[in-house]
Symmetry: C2
Subunit: 476 residues, 2 copies
């Protein structure tokens, strides 16, 4: 992955130059990274991208070549370029572990450091966390829809460029999709690879049975045949059964077939019957062709007999209503020890001021009840306490007396160095799976899911009200 | 951009191993890359990604590290890994120049070479061409909607990872969006950079006027102020006018303001009035906030006075109906000198067999009339001739007697080496602009555009009919 200090918006550099000139660069500051709406019209997102983000922060530095380029822009003074030469990220980062289910209006990453360093890293952190979280969430939705069936990612040909595809493969793992067709992702991330042949293989032979026999002779123990080049049930499956018999006579077993067009629910049921009747119950059925969580859900709903779903375009492009991009933002919440607030006409777009803790309330049945955002200095949060809606102090509710409150985040970087070794990707996938099992009923529904509750503590609600009042008084 | 031979789907390698084992690897083959539906429910796409694709082809080779990894998969024989060690792309590529308006069912890239090399490059070519073409098309739509106003790309924070963002910046240029906020893209591609400050700048000062003054003192000649942290018309614009006066007294001029929320058509008109009345007609108005071609079109429709549109998320994520991904495919059309065909139940998904030429018919008024796909060996295509619908030989029409026919593509690579130096990006952008001006009326409409005609020659139509007939006869 490209990791250059220049991978940023120009305005981060102009602001940095401004802070330096104003003598403000070293003031302590704290930023929160969060999103306002969960993606895909769902109830949750799966937090991902932390390790690549920490990599970026640890390695952030301007090369002489970078500085020479910035000089050519005619915007910056020599003093500023000297400052950049020694610029490092030496701040603190607080975050939940990757694979955690997270919700709107709760701080994911919180970054503390000098105003200069904590501001500058905004663009890269958003780039990494927004995209990885968006893909991990899509993968989790797809894997949920597929139930116990395996999902295989093969979005490389439709991904946003070569490295976009590598990011997709990693984030898909966090969401539970651990197999890929992308050989480079397999190598770099240690993922299991899957893949057989394309229609062109059959077309190159001209004769489907000859093509199947040739493939089986090359890979007698890993043979999966694509059966829809001409007609799946009339030609593809019968030819695959001939090859399955020939393989068995030679001491091998056909592994599977792939259906890539037509009515996948119907075709998979029919193909299953044909293989079972022919004595090949071990042959697994792979389905592909513009699959997403909704199509997979309907295939299962209609009794489709698919063992493996191959998902490409819709996963790599994070397709679907409310997909495409996660609108994560990065907002200043404290500067020079003073809480900061952005007030706008739209209350939903106002920020939550101050450094924060994030609690998750869990019921006695082990299900998550709600998340509560509190101030870092706020020690009072207890079961039974009254908490408030994030954007309206008139809406409040009590936390149940018997709930458990856990902090969801921990420091992951201090003084610019990461505190923990990266977790293996399959561990992140297991965490994601576990988290989804603990969501309140209805949160996993694909359409109009139950909206998971997020609240803020009384102290945070009061602080915001005071700051808004003060801002209004200062106005003409 | 990552350029590894392993950036491919596993099945390219298994097929390659199969072709080698079957003694078919060196057979001559020809593939066409094309799409079936234009993106964004529009009428056209802007072809982009050729240079990165040629870079990939020229540099394709397996390193010893790649081969060592492939050996660990337990799939491949030593003979195959030795074959890969010397594997290069030495084929021919035919393509239109980047920035050309292209249409469904016409071959964009055609690749000829050995079956092994021409098949293997499928995944990477699709990855590069699909995404670049998708972004270039979105950029062209947005720039068209913006008319003479400048469009600035700042999608980095919402792009598909770091390199996704670099691909976006390049492809956006092909579509006519040449300014970016992405500093690394500016450096690597030589693009003009734009950017000012964020809301956090104002929040760090707490006082908007103080924040504006500080920014103006740092960049007195490049000062653009973000006016919506509190209230654009009540606070932001009046404060910006104070700073504009102070700058002028000191011998400088305020360059502009940026509106980032609210009713941009209304706010831009009001802000324009306020600056004009205060004697600052030179102040340019930048608008941003989830802009795309539709929003920009409606702002202009309602008399908005925006000079510069900043477009981020919707461009970088290729948002919109029919966006997200371009469904480009890569199909075998000839093998061993024999035309090849994929027949499916769905005629729209059948392929066009044989090696091809692509003609564009232009009317006497300089407007494009239609594109015609012909066989490479087909020398007869002339004005006045009868041509056929791509998927139905019963639909035909005559080319006008007075049209001009030009071949749209040329060889760009022979024996694995590119034939021409890369064109500058602004030249590609100019070509795109020129091409859009020559489209038939109605093709640029954002909603339900006129569908540009694509036809196939009589020889090609006949060849396909014969091959389908033959395929049907061979079936049981």
């Amino acid at each position: 992955m490209t990791s250059s200090a220049l991978l940023t918006d120009l305005y981060q550099l102009t602001m940095l130059a401004g802070y330096l000139e104003q003598g403000m660069a070293e003031r302590p500051a704290s930023f929160d990274l969060y999103f306002r709406t969960p993606p895909y019209r769902g109830s949750y997102a799966i937090f991902a991208g932390l390790e690549p983000a920490l990599d970026y922060l640890e390695n952030l530095r301007f090369t002489e070549e970078d500085l020479a380029y910035l000089q050519t822009l005619g915007l910056f003074k020599t003093r500023f370029l000297d400052f950049l030469r020694h610029f490092r990220f030496r701040g603190q980062v607080i975050a939940p572990p990757e694979g955690t289910a997270v919700f709107a209006d709760t701080p994911l990453l919180s970054v503390q450091g000098s105003l200069a360093e904590a501001q500058f890293v905004e663009t890269a952190l958003l780039n990494i966390i927004n995209f990885q979280t968006l893909v991990a969430t899509k993968a989790a939705r797809i894997q949920q829809a597929a139930g116990d069936a395996t999902v295989l990612e093969f979005g490389l040909r439709r991904a946003q460029g070569p490295d976009g595809a590598l990011s997709v493969a990693r984030a898909a793992c966090v969401g539970g999709v651990l197999c890929t067709s992308n050989v480079l992702a397999g190598k770099n991330l240690g993922l299991p690879l899957r893949g057989t042949h394309a229609h062109s293989w059959v077309m190159a032979f001209g004769d489907e049975l000859a093509a199947f026999r040739a493939y089986a002779s090359t890979f007698p123990d890993q043979c999966v045949l694509l059966v829809d080049t001409y007609d799946s049930l009339q030609s593809g499956v019968p030819n695959a059964i001939i090859v399955a018999r020939e393989l068995r006579e030679a001491g091998h077993e056909l592994q599977g077939i792939r259906l890539d067009s037509g009515d996948l629910a119907y075709l998979s049921r029919k193909a299953r019957e044909m293989f079972d009747e022919a004595g090949f119950p071990q042959v697994r059925i792979v389905a592909s062709n513009e699959l997403d969580e909704f199509v997979i859900d309907s295939i299962r709903e209609e009794g489709g007999r698919v063992d493996i779903y191959g998902v490409g375009t819709k996963l790599a492009s994070c397709a679907g209503e409310g997909g495409g991009a996660l609108g994560g933002v990065y907002k200043l919440v404290e500067c020079d020890g003073q809480p900061r607030l952005k007030v706008t006409g739209d209350p939903e777009k106002s920020t939550l001021p101050g450094r924060k803790k994030l609690y998750r309330a869990t019921g006695t049945d082990g299900r998550f009840l709600q998340d509560v955002v509190a101030l870092a200095a706020d020690d009072h949060l207890q079961p039974g306490q009254r908490v408030y809606a994030p954007h309206n102090p008139l809406q409040s509710r009590r936390l149940p007396e018997d709930c458990r409150l856990d902090e969801l985040r921990r420091p992951v970087m201090e003084a610019g160095r990461r505190l923990h070794a990266p977790e293996p990707l399959d561990q992140l996938a297991r965490r994601c799976h576990q988290q989804l099992e603990q969501l309140p009923e209805g949160c996993l529904r694909l359409i109009n899911p139950h909206r998971y509750k997020v609240s803020i503590s009384g102290d945070l609600s009061d602080l915001r009200s005071q700051l808004i009042e003060r801002a209004l008084k200062e106005k003409p």
